[in-house]
């Protein structure tokens, strides 16, 4: 039987290719994602290995606040510890290190980064013995308060050379510095795509931390007399527990950094893998369809095998073996295509400034193994039903003319579909009624299943309805197209269903996105009562604007008031369990906040917050069982324990659930930043005059973005656009696969109908009429998929928006742009997908069609 399968596969290379194509498209994405994330991980691993290559021991504060992503936030340590470490026997060299947020721009306003995204840091260059940085020729060590060394990548992007001046904005404010050197990180232009402004230690402390006498860590090089472990232990003993420090070996700090980045990358991997999974799922529709159709087309052949003595199992097994071959070939090619895809992604990323990857792609042996196993399993699962169906073919079918695939819809399908619909609706109602949002998951999945199960039932009448106007103005060509689309409802439904999935997800995402945008517009319009907003040009991490800037703005004669808004992380004890958990809080300055934010306070106010006060959203207060005057215990980064009193309850919680005064952090070492400054102008001052005055203040640093209220709200509501576009691009892959599915299904149908097409040609159908009828058939399928997708997508969006209503998603808005886009795309897709099959169909051989054998 294996030889028959192999012969079958090889005899029909076109069919093998078509089936394999669906497998290839599905697995290529998966393989590409695995290779891409593997490459990123490897380049970060290399980065940390490089960064700590000269580090034998590493000293840092033991005070920290855990973070969900990346490394924990740590407190600073006094720089007096450097001398203490240096005096430990076995230490050859010890150097203090400082790093933090700092933004560089050239005097002409050019940014250090090609695209906003990779972080921008400032720090200490460190001494030669311990630093991973290499100064290029013509550079010198920075010294004194105005000299800086920058990474080579930033120098390139800003068009800056040694001797030029640049602007740097950090916690201390903005100032001009002279570039005295350009450094490379090992042999890379910079470390992991980030921008680095490097100073001597005292300057770094002042500029980056805005404090003196503090450092982040101490890098230690041993004299070789001790192992790293022994050295670290010795230093730890010397410093003692009172120093609140932690000493790690070079290997430990490298591993910790690696695993931290792995943790944040695993999120990216999961995210991308989900989309690869969606593509594969869509691909599985196509694979199933191809096997189904080819099983139907081979009915006669299989019946002949049965008639001459093959068992039902042998016929099924032959089909399975064929699937095995197709799956294997497809997955292997898919794996190879994934290499290309990963190369393409990294190429594009480095072209737009995210040059995070080092030289070449990293392909771990697990990638081909996973890709091939997944490809094989998906293909085999898709082949189960068609293979069993082939096996059940009665031997007598060999004697009959091949009948059309049964078009009738089984009762079981109707009943099954109805049950699924009922369950889905019940789950959705349960979920939305508020008992638990988890009910929405089976509800949404149920809707998809219902559409897939009921697809063939809907397909026929829908195809007829869609084609009814066609008949009017396209005559018999349109009519034949409509009937061809309706003649195999299962086939049409599955082809359209593949498209439906991609479209529904796009529409669902677009609906949620547009609702988020609308909510932002609504709530920000209400909450934001200032005239102008100042935000950092690059928005990485918690950093941003120096806190002094808002006071400088407030001092302008054209300005009535100005206040800064920051964010910070503290550990808050859960009032019920008493266990601490790291939380992000919004930091305000009660002295200046005035009425610049309207958060709907029901009790207390922002202005009235005392240094030991906290304001809590009403939802959070209810959730935690807190009321005015209650105590909330928090721990700051420097381990200071503070009992805060609830001094305000507010209803508008889009911005935050907890708000604390800036003075809470007075004792803390870490610098504070504002992520936004809100300004109102003095009454009587013209809009233009006020705007120009503030702009004059913010412009020199090139790092602060001044906007009017309207501009700011528009900007905020489009802030999710980049992320949405990223998701659209990922979902585009599944749309592409669905389009390939239409091509494949049409090609197989054209092959199946070659006699009919030849006959049509014989009795006087022109080639262009044949082409147009295939085009219309394709359009009917793609429009069917798009319509289903839009319906289910809007529903999906609505469910998500409803479920997130308590999270501040107050508006529901369907994106008409997305719907129009999908409609246009469906039409273009239908036309494009039909091109090749239509060409094939119009070239049907008339003589072969009417030949009697």
């Amino acid at each position: 039987m294996f030889r028959i399968s192999l012969k079958n596969v090889l005899a029909r290379k076109a069919r093998l290719f078509l089936t394999a194509f669906a497998v290839i498209a599905g697995t290529a994405f998966l393989s590409g994602v695995l290779i891409f994330t593997g490459t990123i991980k490897q380049s970060f691993d290399d980065l940390f290995a490089k960064a700590y290559s000269k580090t034998d021991a590493f000293v840092r504060s033991s005070n920290k606040i855990e973070s969900q992503f990346g490394q924990a936030q740590r407190d600073q340590i006094p720089d007096s510890l450097v001398a203490a470490v240096r005096s430990v026997p076995g230490v050859a060299e010890a150097g203090g290190n400082v790093s933090g947020f700092a933004t560089m721009t050239s005097l002409t306003g050019k940014s250090s980064q090609k695209a906003s995204g990779p972080p921008e840091f400032g720090g200490s260059l460190g001494n030669v013995a311990t630093t991973p940085w290499h100064l290029t020729t013509g550079s010198k060590q920075p010294s004194g308060g105005t000299e800086v060394v920058i990474d080579k990548s930033s120098a390139k992007n800003m068009g800056v050379k040694v001797g030029d001046q640049i602007n740097i904005t950090a916690a201390s404010g903005s100032a001009k510095y002279t570039v005295v050197g350009i450094a490379t990180f090992g042999d890379s232009d910079t470390s992991g795509g980030a921008a680095w402004a490097l100073f001597d230690l005292p300057t770094a402390q002042k500029v980056v931390l805005n404090k003196t006498g503090l450092i982040d860590s101490i890098v230690v090089k041993g004299d070789g007399s001790l192992t790293d472990t022994a050295l670290a232990q010795k230093i730890e003993t010397a410093l003692g527990p009172t120093s609140q420090t932690q000493v790690l070996t070079g290997a430990q700090i490298t591993d910790e950094s690696k695993s931290a980045i792995e943790k944040s990358l695993s999120f990216l991997t999961l995210f991308l893998t989900i989309f690869a999974g969606i593509s594969l799922f869509v691909g599985s529709f196509i694979i199933y369809n191809v096997f189904s159709i080819s099983a139907a087309q081979r009915q006669k052949e299989n019946a002949l095998l049965r008639a001459i003595g093959a068992s039902s199992r042998q016929v099924s097994a032959s089909m399975f073996i064929e699937a095995l071959i197709v799956g294997l070939v497809g997955a292997v090619i898919g794996f190879a295509a994934g290499i290309g895809l990963a190369a393409l992604i990294t190429g594009i990323l480095s072209a737009v400034g995210f040059g995070v990857t080092g030289a070449g792609l990293v392909i771990s042996p697990s990638v081909p193994v996973i890709t091939i196993i997944v490809g094989l399993v998906v293909t085999l699962v898709c082949a189960i039903a068609p293979a069993l169906r082939s096996g059940r073919v009665p031997p007598l079918a060999a004697m009959r003319d091949v009948a059309l695939e049964k078009g009738a819809v089984s009762r079981g399908r109707v009943i099954g579909g109805a049950i699924v619909v009922a369950i889905a609706i019940a789950s959705l109602i349960t979920g939305l009624a508020g008992s638990s949002a988890i009910w929405l998951v089976p509800g949404v999945i149920g809707i998809y299943v219902a559409f897939i199960v009921l697809g063939p039932i809907i397909a026929s009448p829908t195809a007829k309805i869609v084609s009814a106007p066609l008949r009017r103005f396209r005559g018999v060509t349109g009519q034949i197209a409509g009937q061809n689309a309706a003649r195999n409802p299962r086939r049409t439904a599955i082809t359209a269903g593949a498209l439906m999935i991609g479209v529904s997800l796009i529409i669902g995402v677009a609906t949620v996105g547009s609702s988020v945008r609308q909510s932002i517009k609504d709530t920000f319009g209400k909450q934001f009562t200032g005239d102008y907003s100042i935000t950092p040009v690059s928005d990485s991490g918690l950093g941003g604007l120096p806190t002094a800037l808002s006071d400088q703005v407030a001092a302008l004669p054209e300005v009535q008031s100005s206040t800064g808004l920051g964010a910070n992380r503290i550990t808050i004890d859960d009032p019920k369990t008493g266990k601490g958990a790291a939380r992000t809080v919004i930091v305000v300055d009660p002295k200046t906040v005035g009425n610049l934010y309207n958060l709907g306070f029901t009790q207390g106010s922002l202005q009235a917050l005392t240094p030991d006060g906290i304001a809590i959203s009403s939802d959070r207060a209810t959730g935690d069982g807190l009321k005015m005057g209650d105590t909330v215990n928090v721990v700051l980064l420097n381990q200071a324990k503070v009992a805060l009193k609830v001094e305000g309850i507010f209803t508008q919680d889009t911005l935050a659930n907890r708000i604390v005064p800036r003075d809470l952090f007075k004792s803390q070492n870490s610098p504070l930043f504002d992520f936004q400054i809100v300004v109102t102008k003095k009454p009587g001052v013209s809009d233009a005059a006020a705007f120009a005055a503030i702009k004059k203040l913010t412009d020199p640093s090139q790092t602060a973005k001044l906007q009017t209220k309207a501009q700011y709200i528009a900007d905020q509501s489009s802030s999710i656009d980049g992320f949405l576009n990223f998701i659209y691009a990922l979902l585009g892959m599944s749309i592409f696969i669905a389009a390939i599915g239409i091509v494949i299904t049409l090609l197989l149908s054209v092959y199946e109908r070659r006699r009919e097409l030849g006959l049509m040609r014989a009795v006087g159908t022109t080639r262009s009429q044949i082409r147009s009828s295939i085009r219309w058939e394709s359009l009917i399928t793609s429009v069917l998929g798009a319509v289903e997708g839009v319906i289910i997508g809007v529903l999906l969006g609505w469910v998500v928006v409803r479920a997130l209503r308590s999270q501040g998603l107050s508006s529901f808005s369907v994106s008409t742009t997305a719907v129009v886009f999908v409609a246009v795309m469906a039409i273009l897709l239908g036309l494009a997908a039909a091109w090749f099959p239509a060409r094939r169909a119009s070239r049907s051989d008339i003589l072969a069609a009417i030949a009697t054998t």
Binding site: V476, Q479, A762, V763, G764, I850
Partner: protein, 272 residues
């Protein structure tokens, strides 16, 4: 219609030499003006040693309002001749014409339109589009041209083939004989200049076959239709006014007013 051309020589030097002013072919054919015909038609497959001459210089004409049959043993080239006459296949050399039109002068689009308006077809099997009902199949060539057709004529055709109460049925709901009657009706519906039938009864039992041949006969007698039929069945050939015999790609004989017996006798001699 621009399809009407003077009989300019096409591919055949022999034809050019004859320089006749009308497409009346000389030779062993009747003297009436033919509705269609071939002049020195040759169809060659392959080349060199493997060369096969399916048609080897066939010159033949078929009279209007007559029922003609083409017979011959299998491999004689009778189907190839019909395919070339109907514009479904192209000659290697020589010319075919229908009415005043030389088919080689037409491009694919013109040829398709010509087939739609001037030629009717009845094949042995697979005659109908499965997604269209009987009436739609009958009027398909008209629908393809965006025409309504002559309703009275269509009614008469439908009446003649006796399908009045079957018009809404799909081909799969019709018997083999009924399907073939639909095919006959389709061939007649557009009032073509000529109908080509390729073994129209080959898939039918003899009683149903006789019925179909009877319809074809009546179409010639009562409706004045021209029909050319390829068959290997002497019984079927006996319905024709004239039989042309083909062997090894050449016309070898012809017979007026054939009977089943006379045709059978002639056929037997091919075995010699």
């Amino acid at each position: 219609m621009s399809l009407v051309d003077p009989p300019v020589p096409q591919t055949s030097p022999t034809f050019a030499a004859s320089s006749s002013s009308s497409p009346i072919a000389p030779g062993n054919v009747s003297t009436a003006t033919p509705a269609a015909g071939a002049v020195d038609a040759a169809k060659i497959y392959g080349s060199g040693d493997s060369e096969v001459r399916a048609l080897d210089g066939v010159t033949v004409g078929f009279e209007a309002a007559h029922f003609s049959a083409i017979m011959g043993p299998s491999g004689s080239g009778k189907s190839t001749l019909m395919h070339c006459l109907a514009g479904l296949d192209a000659l290697t050399s020589g010319a075919v014409y229908i009415g005043d039109t030389y088919l080689a002068k037409l491009n694919d689009r013109q040829l398709t339109e010509f087939r739609r308006t001037e030629v009717g077809f009845i094949f042995q099997a697979y005659n109908l589009i499965p997604t269209l009902n009987a009436y739609e199949n009958i009027t398909l060539p008209l629908l393809l041209g965006g025409q309504k057709g002559d309703q009275a004529w269509i009614d008469r055709v439908v009446e003649t083939v006796g399908l009045r109460n079957r018009l809404k049925h799909r081909p799969s709901e019709l018997s083999g004989g009924q399907q073939q009657r639909v095919a006959v009706a389709r061939a007649l519906a557009s009032k073509p200049r000529i109908i080509f039938a390729d073994e129209p009864t080959g898939n039918l039992d003899s009683r149903t076959g006789a019925e179909i041949l009877d319809f074809m006969r009546r179409a010639v007698n009562e409706l004045g239709q021209t029909i050319v039929m390829v068959t290997h069945d002497p019984q079927a050939a006996s319905y024709a006014d004239r039989v042309v015999f083909l062997a090894d790609g050449k016309i070898v004989d012809e017979m007026q007013e054939p009977t089943a017996e006379s045709v059978l006798d002639r056929m037997k001699r091919f075995g010699d």
